[in-house]
Amino acid sequence: MAVILTAGAGRALAAEPLWTRLGSQEKRILAPLQESWDALEERRKAKWREVARLYPSMKPEEQSRLKAQMRQWAALTPEQRRAAREEFREHTRLDPDSKQDVLEKWKTYSTLPPEQRKALIGSDPAAQPASAGVGASPDSVPDAGSATSAGSSSPATAP
């Protein structure tokens, strides 16, 4: 009985920490998530608090980018976040020139209207290997799926 009561109390407290109980520095860093914070699962809260812990060591421009994208990132589905992490993992494997090339392409691509973006894809984009990441090199494309899964450490859960 005591175990049940204790477990019940633990579950009731598991949604902690509520926003009001965060420290002032965490509140400042995680401010974009304030509205949705209390509804987040405890694992996602723990993940975001880890992000907040790393935040002070970032450059100012990195901090700005992170804060600007936090809300969008939190609003993605777990599957979208998982896929984006895989894409990012592939991107980080590129050499600096290739990374810069991808970035330049995105900067231009993102300004195009949807129909021109589709036109760039060509006839059958779905025929492209689905597992290849944004940053996958040409030679790695056929093996991108296995390489991705082998190098992946993303968990089943997606906080």
Partner: protein
């Protein structure tokens, strides 16, 4: 009722009591069960089970049975349970923060979100397909192929402007 009828009924009762030993036995058994039930109920009052009391099923001990048990039930035990819950929660939170999986995800997300390649680029399936197309159609050219594609995008962008 005349004397004969009265005598017959008496006789019948006496005969029945002699022939049917079960009647008094059943009555005695029922009485015993009632007594036992009353005894059990008395024990519940005399020795309230603390956890039952917490669940609202117990009864407050009478003053004659001393106040220490009441203090145990009403103060110490609930306090101990609350304390155990708090300690359990703290351990759970600590385990979450020390979970290598959570820490790894935090590091990945921090790197991803501070990157100069925006999240939009990572989740846009058309952009991914476009890059894929460029690389698979010009695999031998490597960076040159990428430059070509960048040129194509820039041309498209210029035509848009």
């Amino acid at each position: 009722m005349n004397d004969d009828q009265f005598g017959n009924s008496i006789r019948k009762i006496l005969d029945q009591s002699l022939d049917d030993k079960a009647i008094p036995t059943r009555q005695l058994r029922a009485a015993r069960e009632r007594a036992l039930a009353a005894f059990d109920a008395a024990q519940v009052v005399a020795e309230p089970v603390p956890l039952a009391a917490l669940a609202g099923m117990g009864r407050r001990p009478s003053p004659a049975q001393g106040g220490s048990r009441g203090v145990l039930v009403r103060v110490i035990l609930p306090a101990a349970i609350v304390l155990a819950a708090i300690l359990g929660w703290q351990q759970w939170q600590s385990a979450l923060h020390n979970d290598p999986e959570i820490q790894g995800l935090g590091r990945i997300d921090a790197e991803l979100l501070k990157s100069d390649l925006p999240v939009d680029a990572l989740i846009d399936p058309d952009f991914k397909a476009y890059l894929q197309k460029v690389r698979t159609t010009a695999p031998a050219e490597g960076t040159a192929g990428a430059s070509e594609s960048a040129g194509a995008i820039e041309a498209a962008g210029r035509s848009e402007r």
